[in-house]
Symmetry: C2
């Protein structure tokens, strides 16, 4: 049975392709007879409880295509993490507007919101299809081979390290690049895909899946610097000590916590600066530079994986198809086959909601500071076509005249 009205919203951190999923929902839903209105909520669940809804029914498909190719959340997003009372408010608004299908594009927290709203509707015996559409640059949703948004962010990180490695080779020293990822190291590990020649950086990669020891880190840097005369390092913002304490807290005086109770790791250059200071002070290396990739890695316009775009569009389309022809709520998931093809399935919301995936051991080298070929094989096809490549001169040395 086709509903008369559907509602779509976007939650959590924006990505380069989240608008593809939005547009996938809108265009696919408008194809279905019976659907009279396609609504969007401004700034995710917050827009729903505030009844800040917009009508996407008359948006031109031409403009929708252009918006799809634009990064960040076109409807606006939110960091609100609804509790039961909040979800009851959401359901009240959906009911008042006679919404028959609710689509929420987001990460772990968003899938949990969809799960609770779905339960509310069932308890009230109200006919509502609730579908969660995956999105997160962290790649930390369980049940998915990978999540839309991650490939484009990974591409940015790989390209950034490919360039940083060339820069560091031209002006040798130590370079520390801090990458997003609170619990999952996928995005930091993507730095390895920027490596071409055997002596290219990143030479060392530090992931939140492994305990970070400052002494061990300094020894690694020292050994690499002695071997290559330089050292390029990728560090996850979420690195922590054996007790699980984030390394950044050892220096940050004041910790800002967001609404989810998480320490603020992004939007500050403190971790990179701390690590650089350690290297300068303890190893006596003079040229030590740190960059925090910050918001650039998720918001930069003009660095996107075409594979990611395609898949983000398809999870939106599939969501509508599952809702129209399926008989259950759920979370759309990406599955992999071959080398490489994507397919989709609808997982139960409980299978995804609130759970966090981290990097599989098979993706992390025994040293703990590199990735395996299995990870390279996993990530490479996701980065899409047209990846830039770096080339070197291969000249012969000229015999010395004065100093022979």
């Amino acid at each position: 049975m086709n509903p008369r009205k559907i509602l779509v919203a976007q939650g959590g951190g924006p990505t380069a392709v989240i608008n593809q999923s939005l547009v996938g929902v809108v265009l696919e839903a408008r194809r279905h007879r019976g659907v009279e209105f396609v609504y969007g909520a401004r700034h995710g669940v917050r827009g729903i409880v505030n009844e800040d809804l917009v009508d996407l029914t008359q948006e031109t498909s031409h403009n929708l295509e252009l918006v799809a190719a634009t990064p960040a959340a076109a409807l606006g997003s939110t960091r609100d993490k609804p509790d039961l009372a909040y979800c009851q408010e959401i359901f009240k608004v959906l009911q008042a507007h006679e919404i028959g299908q609710f689509y929420y594009v987001g990460g772990n927290d968003s899938s949990d919101t969809v799960r609770i709203v779905s339960e509310q509707a069932q308890a009230a015996n109200y006919a509502l299809r609730c579908i969660h559409i995956p999105k997160t640059i962290d790649n930390d949703l369980v049940g998915n081979d990978h999540t839309p948004g991650f490939p484009s962010a990974a591409r940015f990180v790989a390209q950034a390290f490919a360039g940083a490695n060339l820069d560091n080779a031209a002006l040798p020293g130590v370079y520390v690049g801090v990458v997003m990822g609170r619990h999952a190291g996928f995005l930091t590990a993507a730095s390895a895909l920027g490596k071409k020649f055997a002596d290219d950086g990143p030479h060392l990669i530090y992931l939140p899946e492994r305990t970070f020891e400052v002494d061990r880190f300094l020894a690694d840097v020292k050994a690499t610097h002695e071997r290559y005369g330089r050292c390029v390092i990728a560090v996850s913002e979420g690195i922590h000590d054996a007790s699980g304490q984030p390394i950044i807290t050892t220096l940050a005086k004041e910790l800002e916590r967001d609404a989810h109770g998480n320490v603020q790791l992004s939007g500050t250059g403190a971790l990179a600066d701390l690590l650089c200071e350690e290297i300068k002070a303890k190893l006596g290396i003079k040229r030590v530079r740190g960059d925090t990739f910050g918001y650039l890695q998720r918001s930069f316009i003009g660095c996107v994986s075409d594979v990611d775009q395609r898949e983000a569009r398809e999870v939106g389309e599939k969501a509508v198809q599952y809702a129209m022809w399926g008989h259950r709520d759920g979370s759309v998931a990406i599955k992999r086959s071959g080398y490489y093809a994507a397919d989709y399935e609808l997982l139960p919301l409980e299978a995804v909601a609130g759970k966090t995936r981290t990097m599989e051991d098979a993706f992390i080298s025994a040293s703990g500071t590199d990735v395996t070929d299995a990870f390279r094989l996993y990530l490479r096809p996701l980065l899409g076509s047209g990846m830039p490549d770096a080339f070197r001169l291969r000249p012969n040395p000229v015999a010395k005249v004065l100093r022979r």
Copy 2:
């Protein structure tokens, strides 16, 4: 008279297109009969004094083309700023290897090195053509409409702010992006080219050409935040108070100075963090995030202006043509005509060497926190083809049911 041997080297901070200039020299020089060897010096002038030279004569033109499209200095670079004694060492090596032409790709400091080496050769009555080839992302060479490397870095900054603006619109708050540029604000000003709609950020732009007052800054941010519910700010790393003291020094405990006697402004997130702290503390705005673009803006692989590539290649080619058929040393400069075409001329080394260009008043708005249309007209053609564009939804609001 064609020399038998020529030498080319690269100095200063790498750019996305400096290898275009290198390859322009090599390929053009190899065309000239009489030229038997094309040498390169590893790591700029340091490679010359160390006799660390390589032979580019047998490098394939195919690989040279691939290297040209690769960012960063393929021969390696250096931060050494030669004094007279150092330049005498350079000249000694050039003489020992019977070099007839010396090409140095670099910024202000490099042009001064070429000037001194040229004087040494004249004093010794040694036939040496010395040509400086312009390069700097700072765009601060006098006598040039703009410098190779700047357009690609400007494109990165414009794309970064276009994306940061979208991200900030999705999750409103204050965003501070710190951009390179010690004395010249061109690169920071390029952030304005990321703006499309009237209410897009960057809403405020702070340049080293204007005195930075913290109180004024806070008042600007407050007014913008009240007006738009958000605020995107571009800040040059070189902002300073009325006495010329860099703003960053007011917080940095330890200042690392490089060989040129300059304060280290890049490779640390301190300025962005300081400004964010000020905004949080004084304005009581909760969501305040800062990014320091750092090395990404000059080394990111895959963000390059095709106009910049073409011109960087041509300044290398033209350098060889001036050396072969001209009768004087000099610095190649880019001139502009029409809307838009580039042409080249050879300036006397003294006209360029050691001088610094800053942004013309006509490029800065009366408020001091924005650019003028003259600047937009100046920069837009340099960014090249295929600039990404951002699009918005234009939906109608849905009438409220519960809260009407």
